[in-house]
Assembly symmetry: C3
Homo-oligomer: 161 residues x 3
Amino acid sequence: MSTEHEIGELVSRYTRAADQRNGELMAELYEVDAVVEIHYRGPDGMELLGKLSGGAQIAAAMSAPPSGTMAPHPPLGWSHHTTYDHLVSVDGDEAGIETQFITFDVAGTPKPEGGWPAGTFGAQGTIKPIESGYYRFTFRRTDGAWRISHQDVIHDIPYVF
Amino acid sequence: MSTEHEIGELVSRYTRAADQRNGELMAELYEVDAVVEIHYRGPDGMELLGKLSGGAQIAAAMSAPPSGTMAPHPPLGWSHHTTYDHLVSVDGDEAGIETQFITFDVAGTPKPEGGWPAGTFGAQGTIKPIESGYYRFTFRRTDGAWRISHQDVIHDIPYVF
Amino acid sequence: MSTEHEIGELVSRYTRAADQRNGELMAELYEVDAVVEIHYRGPDGMELLGKLSGGAQIAAAMSAPPSGTMAPHPPLGWSHHTTYDHLVSVDGDEAGIETQFITFDVAGTPKPEGGWPAGTFGAQGTIKPIESGYYRFTFRRTDGAWRISHQDVIHDIPYVF
């Protein structure tokens, strides 16, 4: 597998871990000294919203209990962290991928007590884009394995914690 | 072309055949003994919603007349079957790709009898995500050609047939 | 980097230039004699909506001032030009990529004078798919560098200029 595929795979695994809010899967992706910076790219330039330092803190902040601090998905709830149109660079044991991202919030409709009404067809619920922007991943190869050493999450629109 | 590209191309062709509801294009992608399983990943675990056996049955179920049993797109209607963030594995003549998917329903606005009102600009209609989840494709190489041997369609939200 | 990656990178750079409405970035992607044709794939077949000839005209039409003629993004506004499920062909110094596309319009909510209300959380604004269809890129390699020589933009739904 080429380096391009290998680091692309890390981005795919990041989206799965984020969808699942799974701290164990998330922790495997980051270097122990990794840093994540969350920004809002506003009309007056980049504004730093928050910073996570170290793989353990990153994994905890991006996942739900038992290992993390995010709320778990509500019943019938889910999310998709989708990436697009990668720009890839590789330089020895350092590499980078910039992507567009959109996060979709998924909310299923519970089956009514008396069953679905006659004529109901297809997927029942709503799928809504709620976040967008750019991810900038920097990867480092240590002992033959690529991991994320730095990540910028750059939101297009105001983000309130 | 690498095996990774070749099987990724099958996923792209799958989305085109699904967008077009085109049974001929669909049939070219599957092994004659292929199986498609449609699931809903609910709060109580995976629930099997349906199973299609054999390339001919699969192609018929996923396409519109003359060869298929789906309704054709309505006038000015269309769909996009989009995939994201592939996880690829290759092992000799077997391979797999897991993707996120979102299906968008597209409905154009018919041009009014008297023409578009003054000031109308841009695309006229709605584009709405209606399905989401994960595809798991298994591929097999037979006589040098890769085809889909198994596909799981895993919906995030309740799905009613 | 393989030819497949190199031309895929051009598609990624196209989406960034389009998001930014940046004429300089756009101009770098096209051959000087490139042609862009914009179509609507209606129920009666393909309808040509417009044609741009030459890299300079293309860049001007797809970007905002100073170099372009599009309106700039409104305050807190942005867009994402996303592509999906590439079909790639390479033949010597000619190559092609067909993609699905969806354009998302992003509109941030301005921070209220008195600050965000108590309990506000997450991204503030709307992210809405407003255009969809297919891009067909043809690339040419000249003096070792790949550039876009022809692009079809094929809208799914009626488009009014």
